[in-house]
């Protein structure tokens, strides 16, 4: 069951990574990147590394998203 969940999350991770690279709207890219970080945090937890999971959830889904949003608000939204 956990293995199936891991495969599903990895599939979602690949989809997110490709979407971040291909999408033209930078705001949408940042939001998808936050979802990528959240899935990555769950995967770290399933891979028995809760230390990295806490850091990934706080940094990847939280601070990085906010800093990128602040950067977008200073520049253009379109690529």
């Amino acid at each position: 069951m956990t293995e199936l969940l891991q495969y599903l999350l990895m599939l979602f991770l690949v989809v997110c990574a490709v979407a971040v690279a291909r999408i033209r709207d930078l705001l949408a890219a940042v939001i998808i990147f936050a979802a990528y970080s959240l899935v990555m945090a769950i995967l770290w937890l399933l891979l028995a590394s809760p230390d990295i999971a806490i850091t990934e959830a706080a940094l990847g889904a939280g601070v990085t998203t906010l800093l990128l949003l602040a950067a977008i608000s200073k520049t253009r939204r379109e690529e």
């Binding site: 230390d51 806490i54 939280g62 601070v63 906010l66 800093l67 200073k74």
Partner: protein, 147 residues
């Protein structure tokens, strides 16, 4: 930006986030987490507060100068604990050899100097997050006034 729900929810959530961040920092030698993770959580909580209200409300709690001072003092705490071990006759960041009390394993106050080091790292990381956010947003508002 005058969102009532966002303001009330963040006013309720921010203290718990900060408490959890302090828990992660102070239990760095016992449970997953540590200075970096806990500091990032505390910094994110302050950024959430400054985002939900405005920058003036955030700088009223922690001003830009105070966050700069905290950032430097966090690094100084880390280096100071390391140098203290040298003065006590051990290597840099020496712990048991330098004579820091180890306590019973599993207790909160155990592990000698590890908690002090983790506290320094936590202060440093939290202040770095807040300083980064303030620097980005303040510059933005300054350029807005020019236009």
């Amino acid at each position: 930006m005058e969102d009532l729900i966002l303001r009330y929810v963040s006013r309720i959530v921010v203290p718990f986030v900060q408490l959890y961040g302090l828990y992660v920092v102070f239990h760095g030698h016992l449970s997953p987490g540590g200075g970096f993770s806990g500091g990032a959580i505390i910094g994110a909580s302050m950024i959430l507060y400054a985002l939900a209200f405005n920058l003036a409300a955030g700088t009223k709690k922690i001003s830009h100068d105070l966050s700069l001072i905290l950032e430097s003092s966090g690094g100084l705490i880390y280096a100071g604990v390391g140098l203290l071990a040298i003065f006590l006759g051990a290597n840099f960041l020496g712990n048991m050899v330098a004579g820091f009390p180890l306590g019973t394993p599993g207790n909160l106050f155990s592990g000698g100097a590890i908690m002090l080091i983790t506290l320094g790292v936590g202060i440093k990381v939290a202040a770095t997050m807040i300083t980064l956010f303030y620097s980005l947003i303040e510059e933005e508002q300054a350029t807005d006034e020019h236009h």
